[in-house]
Symmetry: C2
Subunit: 155 residues, 2 copies
Amino acid sequence: MSGGVEWGLHCCVVLSGAGAPVPAAKLAELHDVSQSYLAKQLQLLSRAGLVRSSLGQAGGYVLTRSASEITVLDVIEAIDGAQPAFRCTEVRQRGPLATPAERCDTPCPIARVMAAADRAWRESLRGITIADLVADVSRTTPAEQLDRARAWLRA
Amino acid sequence: MSGGVEWGLHCCVVLSGAGAPVPAAKLAELHDVSQSYLAKQLQLLSRAGLVRSSLGQAGGYVLTRSASEITVLDVIEAIDGAQPAFRCTEVRQRGPLATPAERCDTPCPIARVMAAADRAWRESLRGITIADLVADVSRTTPAEQLDRARAWLRA
DNA sequence: GACTCTCGGACAAAAGTTATCCGAATTGAG
DNA sequence: CTCAATTCGGATAACTTTTGTCCGAGAGTC
């Protein structure tokens, strides 16, 4: 899985706490990552409709919906794509004993098992929203630190 | 996920049906894949203790246990390694508002969510054995074709 | 003793990931 | 209206992982 997913999730958490648009450069500085590369991840989030960018002097990124309506899976699929980790190369249709393609109407058992596992993985991630992450963060970190973060974002 | 996983699973299915050791070259020809590269995957399976190689003229690979005692996850972890797809880079310990390392005794919420999804994925794959795959294959393919496969392996 | 086979590492090519930079377009403030 | 700040998108390069090949050493069988 792409490392950009982690950045994207952190950005969404931060964005849900900020009341105003946050420039990409600020998000990069906050997380101490390359701002050029983070920009690319944010563009992916924007293309997926999870965030919106406003141009101009006071521009930046904002979530398009409530944090409780954005799942972790949404972010992952926006950045990494929705394609499953396993892709069947139809080994059974190759080699000296290849079964003809017209017989392969159903996916091979291996692909089926992998697809089921992939569904379980996605289902687990679909059940968690950005709001859940935020709740977890604000529960485990002291309020004073959260205030400092908000102040830093405004500055 | 590495493409070699698919080959490894197919090989285990074939091996469970063959009564005698099958050389790596034969497995490669059967699946029409590079024999040098497949050899590497088989070595990984061997190192993990799933298959055993016998040397000499009638040598080849054999499963070390019953197909019902080898899970799909066993094969995946043997070839791809047991490391989870997501690895937390501890973003919270970086940047101007970094939380000190001594405060990070518990994993960050994002890592926790990812780990839970990873467990769900692995649990799903741990529940399926090579024997299940074999049963599925022998149920969906005509007996005549299975006999041809067995005959080809012996030759 | 000759043959067959596996083992393991070294090595090369291809693909994907990570990262950088620059110009164009857009918006808000003076 | 003009200027400064900002995002957007593409082109590009460095790096890492994956994929694939090759060959010699060692071990077993006939």
